[in-house]
Symmetry: C2
Subunit: 371 residues, 2 copies
């Protein structure tokens, strides 16, 4: 039988994730597997946790990579914190806010939503009004809305919950490693992310962190977490000093994350943010020269996820297919109401390079109809 | 900062999993990452599904690797099938049966358990009596109980549910690839496994398969699956013809699974089972020569997970530590009531080799006190 792996091409990944992976991370993935209770593997786990705390700018003891992709991180945050009937407010301006609301409702939360037009940010003043009218146990928002390319004002929203009993839950799947994330300074109580965006590691793990307030809510539950696999009270005992076996950790994926975090910290967070910003500006400038406009107003544009309006005369699917087949470049389609209207161009982590921008622009110049 | 990955040793993994990984699978893990909606990646997904069906001996259309470790497979089977109040019977003779009962109870099932002494198998006649007294929506059992080394009579138990409305759920985490698993012939409706045992792939994925009856129960639910991440009605649309985006699949881990399944089918399932049996017999013979006895009676012994009684004069922890530090061999400790009483010696997948047996026996000969 033909081995399909031999046919895998080296594709420039400029979609909404996964992003390109540096060779060092590929090498890490194929280090020899150790047991999940091996003493040396424990030192690697400790290293991952310490680096994650640096990247998240948090002192939270409960900082772990969950054994699933970014959406498992979302599921984990909600399933550990929600008890049936809890009042939860979800701020929605794209697919991932909607997903949060679906996840929370399935878990028996009493969900309110506050919606904003796709392509525009969440407005803190609207949130302030809403929380004056109702007391919420949890308010949740997406930092970088991958479906629209909008950056939400996570720091400003966080200020609204100071001194209240509300837990603040933030999705940083696409933002982490590409723009600043300050978990402690911004008053975030529960945060999850993914490895396959600006951390430049293949998909498979979801970094997660809980503040002391979030841990108190978890420990004060009247009922067991209705999800054994993602129960953080058990997982904390494996990642903590006790090292109690819970499930068999995804050892090789954790090697990859270790290496990816080490590379990011070696470059330096600020330098990585600047790199994302610089390549974003170059892309936006180049797209403008090709006569294309961005979906999102300048102040709210994400540097790592660029949403560009597709000109009326363009067959978007045909161009995406040709980018992949003729130029070995992947870009992303629009989702939901934005399907057919935008492309999503990721410049995330190792994909955020000058040559990514120039290769894509050169290809688009050839493929787009001349006017 | 020191890169801890450089210090990873090549350990002979003879614990209860993960097992040793062939070089081809390591190479597969580090193939270039493709997008999770990439057309070529879709062909790899199709290849994985077809090979999984062969290994499971099933025609089930809903046969997929879940994006989590083996325990995520357990969680997925129960969360998709259980609706609150459903009567569920769990057959327990070790840690993993107990875990099933915990998982099911958290999901609101009305759980009955039927217990058997650890180290002995589930008795079909006792199950038959129990199901005559009560009607169950689901009966669940572990094929290869990794905590005790016992093989449960899964085929015989399955016959009891023929023509009934009971769904039969089986854990094949440790058995798959090492002993025969015949999903369709044995009337199994829901099955999950793990990659890090006899499939010789690092931990991180959970093969899962649902019969048409199980799919009917899923589709007939009155409420949404209370776990978005593991909702098989959504995941089926990603793995099926529609290719609807659900979550970002763990692309590189799936490359590893593809390669691991290809290697297993290349060897041939029957040959793999014979290899496991042969090396098991060699190990048992060698342990006997060293004066050690097995926990489990001969007919119920698992070939891939060997539980041996620790002689009274032996400091078990010290020997396990020396095996790891001086001989680079990992073996497993006992769990629960068997802690300190047994070792668990895995000969799973790529670890089931003649040289594994001889290297371990030679080391034990040096380390065990002479009488």
């Amino acid at each position: 039988m033909k081995n399909l792996l031999e046919g895998i091409e080296d594709v420039l990944l400029l979609g909404p994730g996964p992003s390109c992976v540096p060779q060092e991370v590929y090498d890490a993935l194929s280090c020899k597997t150790l047991g999940h209770l091996d003493p040396y593997f424990m030192t690697i786990m400790d290293g991952i946790r310490e680096m994650l705390k640096q990247v998240l700018k948090t002192e939270n003891a409960l900082t772990v990579p969950m054994s699933g992709t970014g959406s498992a991180g979302m599921e984990a945050c909600f399933v550990n914190l929600i008890e049936p009937g809890d009042k939860v407010l979800i701020l929605i301006n794209g697919v991932f806010g909607m997903r949060m609301s679906d996840v929370a409702a399935r878990l028996g939360a009493n969900v309110d939503i506050l919606e904003f037009a796709w392509g525009t940010p969440v407005l803190p003043e609207a949130v302030e009004k809403k929380i004056r009218e109702n007391a919420y146990r949890i308010v949740a928002v997406v930092h970088a809305e991958t479906s629209t390319g909008v950056m939400n004002p996570v720091a400003e929203i966080g200020k609204l919950f100071k001194g209240s009993g509300t837990l603040y839950l933030v999705d940083t799947v696409t933002s982490l490693g590409g723009i600043d994330v300050r978990m402690d300074d911004w008053g975030i109580d529960a945060l999850y992310s993914g490895t396959q965006k600006c951390l430049s590691c293949p998909p498979g793990l979801a970094p997660l962190s809980f503040s002391e307030r979030a841990v108190a809510k978890l420990n004060g539950r009247k009922t067991k977490v209705p999800n054994w696999y993602l129960d953080l009270s058990l997982i904390a005992n494996y990642w903590g000093a006790k090292r109690v076996y819970h499930h068999t950790a995804p050892v090789n994926m954790l090697y990859g994350l270790y290496q990816a975090l080490a590379l990011l910290l070696e470059e330096g967070l600020e330098k990585a943010f600047q790199r994302h910003r610089k390549n974003h500006l170059a892309l936006v400038g180049g797209l403008k020269e090709l006569g294309m406009e961005m979906l999102v107003e300048e102040p709210w544009r994400l540097p790592m996820l660029n949403t560009v309006l597709i000109p009326a005369d363009v067959d978007e699917l045909s161009i995406r297919k040709r980018l992949r087949s003729e130029f070995r470049i992947e870009i992303g389609a629009g989702l939901g109401p934005l399907a057919g209207k935008i492309w999503r161009i990721g410049l995330m982590g190792h994909s955020s390079r000058q040559e990514s921008v120039s290769r894509l622009l050169a290809a688009l110049k050839i493929l787009l109809p001349t006017t």
